[in-house]
Amino acid sequence: MRLTEGPQGTRILAFGGYQPAKVVTNDDLAATVDTSDAWIRSRVGIVSRRVAGPDESLADMATAAGGKALAASGLSATDIDLVIVATCTPEAPIPNTAATVATRLGIAAPGAYDLNAACAGFCYGLATASDAVRAGSSRHALVIGAEKLSQWVDWTDRSTCIIFADGAGAAVVGPVTDPQAGPGIGPVVWGSDGGMADKIAIKDRNSFIVQEGQAVFRWATTALHPVARKACELAGVDPGELAAFVPHQANLRIVEAIARKLGAPQARVADDIVHAGNTSSASIPLALSRMTEHGEIGSGDAVLLLGFGAGISYAAQVITVP
């Protein structure tokens, strides 16, 4: 038997993001549940979030984000042979979202699968796509994080409806072609703990999302900065060299607490949650897409990604901005 061979290193070629048009402000929520703009800002750091329209599907949002990333990469649809959609809110168990999205983007017959690692999903997808390219299983991969959490939120539950939102973000992954350039996607540090499965859950198809806020906060602010530091160590990048830190946008207070413990004084810390809400697997690529568009991060910058959430699951890696 023979094995395929791939490139030594992989990189991200482009990002793309999509948010639904409908903006829901804190005041909008305060009109229907017992909460206030000040309370929401102080507890979770969110000012407004986006919610999909009634006819806007998960595949619609994933296709929009994926299409933008593909266009920005300069590749054509025929160059893509692997499509991964990280989501915990698929419209149905089958068919998967990835094959539908691939067909809509004109990507013919790629390997296509959905991946559920909840809020860590994009980092898992990025790692598996990178490994597939390195192994020669794929030439170029499209990785999308997409969520329609609004359909799993109890809009009368003030502890959750203030947090979760909809959106999609994407990245195109391919080989490093410049012999002078180092790898653009570092080794992943990932893990899980099913013993904490009940801390964030949608228990069955008739249930809404629930989470134990204090338990999740304690875990996130104590267990994750070592994971983030380990990802830096494996990539050979000192935290002091990071241009940005883009953790999952779970809650601004969690983001700030992890950033403080990480010790990366030069790094710009993503705060996309302020106007995007918590979009689970979409939050990291959405933030990367926006930060790139706004010039907050530039080509060649080292950026640390850290996904974490239900499962419990987590994954971190250092990337280089395309």
Binding site: R43, Q214, A215, R218, T222, A257
Partner: protein, 84 residues
């Protein structure tokens, strides 16, 4: 040797200053976290985590709701029989 009331109070003052931005001299035993110091449930988790690092006493989430004043935390830490 068990930590004294004063030692724990000093430590808590520094922790609360760092976590919640409340000046340490305002952290006196009779103060209520919620009503006097404006410290919410998530900051209480951060205080509990920092207190564990500093005093070696674990304060689980289900105990936090019982710790309403600074003195309650001091008593909890001392009651856990910590040695300095």
């Amino acid at each position: 040797m068990a930590m004294t009331q004063e030692e724990i109070l000093t430590g808590l003052g520094e922790i609360i200053d760092e976590v919640a931005g409340v000046p340490a001299d305002q952290v006196t035993p009779d103060k209520s976290f919620v009503d006097d110091l404006d410290i919410d449930s998530l900051s209480m988790v951060e205080i509990a985590v920092a207190a564990q690092d500093r005093f070696g006493v674990e304060i689980p989430d289900d105990q936090l709701k019982n710790l309403k004043t600074v003195q309650d935390v001091i008593d909890y830490v001392r009651g856990a029989g910590v040695s300095a």
